[in-house]
């Protein structure tokens, strides 16, 4: 029950404790904000588990993970593509150059 996927926050609805997130595929999905202690905002990277945001991560951690997958699985696999797309989305939403 621990499968979690990284996503970027598009919009936060703090009234309803929900957020719209994008896993990198361009489809906005609704998720419940499970973590209360840490403020969430547009452009944050989070781990989503069964539709619940359970953790916030940094872009450095995501880049490290992508490097790891490239090394273990090869340059052009489903997982590395998915992570690359997510990073692209992150750049667009957070307006950050990596």
């Amino acid at each position: 029950m621990c499968i979690g996927a990284p996503a970027v926050v598009i919009e936060v609805d703090s009234e309803n404790m929900t957020a719209s997130v994008d896993f990198g595929d361009g489809v906005p999905r609704a998720a419940i904000i499970g973590i209360v202690d840490r403020d969430l905002k547009r452009g944050d990277l989070v781990i989503v588990h069964a539709g619940v945001i359970i953790s916030k991560i940094t872009v450095e951690e995501l880049l490290e993970q992508l490097e790891f997958f490239k090394e273990v699985l090869g340059e052009n696999t489903y997982l590395t593509q998915a992570y690359s797309k997510l990073l692209e989305k992150y750049r667009e939403v957070a307006g950050r150059d990596l």
Partner: protein
């Protein structure tokens, strides 16, 4: 708070690539294992709680990387596997009576022990006309239920990770009038206690001497939730991440502590887990749910191991709304005949020791609950666990 110190500065400076890291961690594991063997440890078990850890261990072949006497066993970390048959039957019954039932994909195929009007699972119920819909999260169920307005139930299965989500939808009043929730959230530490008690009942078996605790569950509960396990049983508990290197480092940390005679709770997965967890999430869970003695499939009631909605939120509670009752007390005999799933989830048996495994029970046609979910130990072994077959072959070749 303890942070894993197995990887000291000198060690980290040697790391170049993940392959180097893995080689180094494995060599350190072997060194510590040799030290333990000199102190009389011939065989011991490390239990991983979480289904995703078992997936990592089996998928990446980590059992082949650790010394032979060091057994990595799976624990009760798949919520679908431990949900009693009674609840599956109740959901089938509701779906056949015209109630829309929302479930996660793996629950859809979960088989009950007794059939309800000919259906053993929600998938079969749907083929008989029951309205069962697969969703990935509770918000999708809410959206769908609002759109049709028919009486509906969402099966809220899971561990501590999903509980804050369920709590928020109740607190924020997001559930529409026609949708109730069947809260079947289970708590992980009590099951770990039970698995460790059981492992100590059979002195002939190698003891469980370390626990790899679930990472994402601990983002909510905090690593502190595992301290009673480490203290009661005097064994190391390491909260671990899910990459193969994470799990190997956690194994190394357990062996390192054992060789020093320590039994601490440490965090390997420091990038997501903190010592106290998310206190706001814990408080939301506490506001909405009360902790109850809960029934685990094939096991029975474990004290304070489940969450149910508080009286105040009865209006959202499917137990109340549809008169669903808890399973009878005593040991639950709700496994299919021949199925060893109850022993598999407690680390007492490997899937390959079950007479049904890959014969009558396959991922395509699962019989036991552990074969249903992608996080069930049997399903993981069926897909990736070729090691046991290879070991059997080797034994036979050795005999010739």
């Amino acid at each position: 708070m303890c942070i894993v110190s197995s990887l000291d500065a000198e060690f980290i400076s040697q790391i170049g690539t993940s392959r180097d890291l893995t080689t180094l961690v494995v060599s350190r594991v072997k060194e510590h294992w040799e030290a333990l063997r000199k102190r009389g440890f011939e065989r011991l078990k490390i239990m991983n709680f979480c289904g995703t850890h078992e997936w990592t261990v089996t998928h990446y072949g980590l059992r082949n990387l650790v010394p032979r006497g060091l057994e990595l066993v799976a624990g009760p970390g798949c919520p679908v596997c431990v949900t009693p048959s009674d609840f599956v039957e109740a959901l089938i019954k509701l779906s056949l009576e015209g109630v829309v039932v929302y479930v996660y994909g793996d629950v859809y195929r979960l088989r009950a022990t007794r059939s309800v009007k000919g259906a053993f699972s929600l998938a079969e119920s749907r083929s008989l006309g029951g309205d069962v819909r697969v969703v990935a999260d509770v918000l999708s169920a809410i959206r769908s239920a609002k759109s049709h307005g028919k009486p509906s139930v969402f099966a809220g299965i899971g561990f501590e990770t999903v509980a804050p989500g369920y709590a928020q939808v109740v607190l924020k009043g997001l559930l529409p009038e026609n949708l109730t929730m069947l809260p079947l959230v289970k708590l992980t530490p009590p099951a770990m206690f039970y698995a460790l008690d059981v492992s100590r009942e059979k002195p002939t078996e190698p003891p469980i001497m370390g626990v790899i605790a679930p990472g994402h569950v601990s983002t909510i509960t905090g690593a502190k939730a595992w301290v009673p396990v480490a203290e009661t049983y005097g064994i190391p508990v390491v909260v671990s991440g899910f990459e193969p290197v994470d799990v190997l480092v956690s194994i190394l940390e357990i062996l390192r502590q054992l060789s020093r005679g320590e039994a601490k709770t440490t965090i390997e997965y420091t990038r997501a887990v903190s010592w106290h967890g998310d206190l706001g999430a814990q408080s939301a869970i506490h506001k909405v749910f009360e902790t109850v003695d809960d029934a685990w499939r094939g096991i029975g009631y474990l004290p304070k191991s489940g969450l149910r909605l508080r009286e105040k939120y009865r209006v959202y509670d499917a137990f109340h709304e549809h008169g669903i009752s808890e399973p009878p007390p005593g040991e639950l005999k709700d496994m299919p005949p021949g199925c060893k799933c109850a022993e598999v989830v407690l680390g007492k048996a490997y899937p390959s020791q079950c007479p049904l495994f890959l014969k009558a029970c396959t991922p395509q046609r699962p019989i036991g609950p552990c074969m249903v979910s992608i996080e069930g130990t049997c399903a993981i072994w069926a897909k990736y666990g070729s090691r046991e077959l290879l070991l059997k072959l080797r034994e036979e070749l050795d005999k010739q």
